[in-house]
């Protein structure tokens, strides 16, 4: 499992290179800032700072970029908790309960819980990586398009079914997201739904749409209110609630470990990553909870599940990067670029020939996860003063920053227009009880679902019986059906037994 001689060589490598340590704290802070600004993302931060690593040695260069990755993993949670704006697509589920906690004046607890879950999740992902990096390379290759398709359907159905609206509204909203994601040039070069506009050739950009659906619509809904938190006393930021949230999370360690395990496993699958991991972990935690009805209303476990999973998926993503040379998402794709800049190619040969460097990378990231607790605490304390700002001022400022951030992402007016359009759509959907979350998940999962469905169709020659020859697909399909049945039966039973509050 662990090559001890390579492990000690890794320790001496880290000990002899002070730059490998000097870059970590600035990297974490950059990640936190970029992750926390709506519209900017971890991948933007990593891309912006990639050239800065050109003159560094390989180890500090990668540790600097992974520090940005780690910081950004939690940075996205800060606006998700304080303003219902997931700073990154991997913090979508963090907003589900983090924001209701903020509205109840528990923003300190939510931020503390998210910080600890994030740090433990990162730690878990990298510790697991140390043990599984070699054997997992062979397992990942066994997942084909049919299995990946089931993963995509799983992600969407869970969110469509597990919401407070009706299942019909969840499905309609989810499918709306999927169809929006297919606008633009398809993989086969067909233009779909562009109505002749050149701006739509690349499709509807997911991050601006996500910001519009979640943030703009919610901000506009708040028009007329004074503050995010009505009670003046609750707006005061104290260290104690942050530490309480952190302490409670540590005591609820089984939830953190469950979220971390889900995140790492999903992170290992190429192309899925943190944006699916946080949703899958949230859905699993809600399903297994004794009080599922409290989710979405400010349950700390929801924040923990999401943050542990999105942070641990970083370690999972590094498995495929190191073992196969395949990036699992945008962040690891930039890391792959940094590998190329230093004439390094990931893959089984890299692991066998440079085991000491692989271990040094893993150990460096474990240290980053621990340092994140301290750097994150300072950052959280500064960022949470946002609840003291009057909403009438906060709304136009956040909308303006979102517009600028989305212009930065798309490089054209498509970003701001998408925010405005998606904001209007989200506002109407909220008004009539459609879950915007399902639309966002559909938007994120749609391209993957279409690609895997097409590949499955091509491989099978259009014969549905093909899946009978794929045992992993069959097992996943049976599990999906069983889980859906359990959820539907549970919903029906709770509807029949619950007191009719509305009456």
């Amino acid at each position: 499992m662990i090559d001890l001689s390579a492990f000690s060589a890794a320790l001496s490598l880290l000990g002899s290179d002070p730059l490998a340590w000097l870059v970590v704290i600035p990297g974490l802070f950059i990640g936190l800032v970029f992750g926390a600004i709506p519209g900017l993302s971890i991948s933007i931060a990593m891309a912006v700072f990639l050239p800065a690593t050109l003159y560094m040695d390989f180890l500090p260069a990668i540790l600097f970029l992974t520090a940005i990755f780690t910081g950004g993993g939690f940075g996205g949670a800060v606006p998700a908790i304080l303003m219902n704006i997931p700073g990154t697509s991997s913090a979508v589920a963090t907003a589900f309960d983090g924001y209701p906690m903020s509205k109840k004046g528990q923003h300190g607890e939510a931020l503390g819980a998210g910080l600890v879950a994030s740090a433990v999740g990162t730690l878990f992902g990298y510790i697991l990586l140390m043990f599984i990096v070699s054997p997992v390379a062979t397992w990942v290759l066994m997942l084909g398009p049919t299995e990946m398709l089931i993963v995509a359907i799983w992600g969407l159905l869970l969110i469509a079914v597990l919401n407070d609206s009706s299942i019909a509204k969840g499905l309609a909203a989810g499918i709306l997201g999927i169809l929006i994601s297919t606008i633009g040039y398809s993989d086969t070069g067909l233009m779909r739904g562009t109505f002749g506009s050149m701006y739509l050739l690349d499709g509807i950009p997911a991050i601006p749409a996500l910001i519009g659906l979640f943030a703009a619509s919610e901000l506009i809904n708040m028009a007329g209110r004074d503050y995010l938190i009505a009670d003046r006393e609750m707006r005061k930021m104290k260290l104690k609630p942050i530490l309480k949230g952190a302490g409670d999370t540590m005591r609820g360690w089984p939830q953190v470990l469950r979220g971390s395990a889900i995140g790492t496993l999903i992170g290992i699958i190429p192309g899925v990553g943190a944006s699916v991991a946080n949703l899958a972990s949230y859905a699993a935690t809600k399903r297994l909870s004794k009080e599922p009805e409290t989710f979405g209303k400010g349950n700390r476990e929801g924040v923990v599940a999401s943050e542990a999973a999105n942070s641990s998926s970083e370690g999972g993503g590094m498995v495929t990067l190191l073992a196969l040379g395949l990036p699992g998402g945008a962040g690891t794709a930039i890391l792959l670029g940094a590998f190329a800049m230093h004439d390094v190619t990931g893959g089984p040969r890299f692991i066998s020939e440079n085991t000491d460097i692989v271990y040094a990378l893993i150990l460096g990231n474990i240290a980053q996860a621990i340092l994140l607790l301290g750097v994150g605490l300072v950052f959280v304390f500064l960022a949470s003063s946002i609840v003291k700002i009057r909403l009438s001022y906060l709304i136009p400022y956040v909308l303006s920053v979102s517009m600028m951030g989305t212009y930065a992402i798309t490089g054209s007016i498509v970003g701001p227009l998408t925010v405005a359009g998606a904001g209007a759509l989200g506002w109407i959907m909220r008004r009539y009880g459609y879950p915007v979350t399902a639309t966002v998940v559909g938007l994120l999962i749609g391209p993957m679902a279409e690609g895997e469905l097409t590949r499955s169709w091509q491989i099978s020659g259009g014969d549905p019986a093909f899946i009978l020859t794929r045992p992993i697909t069959m097992v996943m399909l049976v599990l999906l059906i069983l889980m859906l049945l359990a959820v539907l039966v549970g919903k029906r039973m709770s509807r029949q037994t619950a007191p009719v509050i509305a009456e």
């Binding site: 907003a95 589900f96 924001y99 209701p100 919401n163 407070d164 009706s166 299942i167 019909a168 509204k169 499905l171 309609a172 499918i175 709306l176 999927i178 297919t182 398809s186 086969t188 067909l190 779909r192 739904g193 703009a216 506009i220 809904n221 007329g224 979405g296 209303k297 909403l391 009438s392 400022y397 909308l399 303006s400 920053v401 517009m403 600028m404 212009y407 930065a408 007016i413 701001p416 925010v419 405005a420 904001g423 506002w427 109407i428 909220r430 008004r431 009539y432 009880g433 915007v436 979350t437 749609g446 679902a449 279409e450 097409t454 169709w457 091509q458 259009g462 509050i501 509305a502 009456e503």
Partner: protein, 171 residues
């Protein structure tokens, strides 16, 4: 989910639920209209893709998804026609009480559309000022202080610190 938490505040005049003067049960006609528009949009998109498709793989996902989506939207719309009862009735804010939100939505759309011409610097300053006016701010010096330095700071951060090439009019 977040949707559940964003329930609008109870309008004071509706807190008592239906009264003697308003005996007719309220129906959610707006929800039906939205469901019909959504179903029509999904169907139209699938139809437009089918029209240009060169093979099955071009609509392999889109067609079945649209069929399920249309059915789900119609089902949701019909289900929403049931008269609103209890909490659903008293917490629902009539459209006329959403004027600030609707005005902000329109303002945001206009701001986004005009950005290529008025730039992020001037556009953002005007947007902030108008958004504050919509939300009840009337003090001229507060409007100016929030709009001009705020827009200038944000534009400077993006253009000079983050090196994003935003369209600007003055800077």
């Amino acid at each position: 989910m977040t949707d559940a938490t964003s329930t609008p505040p109870v309008a004071p005049e509706t807190q008592g639920g239906p009264t003697q003067s308003d005996p007719a049960p309220r129906r959610n006609w707006g929800a039906l209209v939205f469901a019909l528009v959504l179903a029509a949009a999904l169907a139209f998109y699938a139809w437009s893709v089918m029209g240009v498709a060169r093979g099955l793989t071009d609509y392999l996902l889109i067609l079945p998804a649209a069929v399920i989506g249309v059915a789900a939207a119609l089902w949701a719309g019909i289900a929403d026609l049931a008269p609103l009862k209890g909490l659903a009735q008293i917490t629902r804010r009539p459209l006329r009480e959403e004027t600030k939100g609707i005005a902000l939505l329109v303002l945001t759309g206009v701001y986004a559309c005009l950005l290529p011409w008025i730039g992020f610097d001037v556009g953002t300053a005007v947007f902030i000022a108008l958004a504050l006016i919509i939300q009840g701010e009337r003090s001229l010096w507060k409007l100016a202080l929030a709009a001009v330095p705020g827009a200038a700071l944000m534009t400077w951060i993006f253009t000079d610190l983050l090196m994003v090439r935003l369209p600007v009019l003055l800077f």
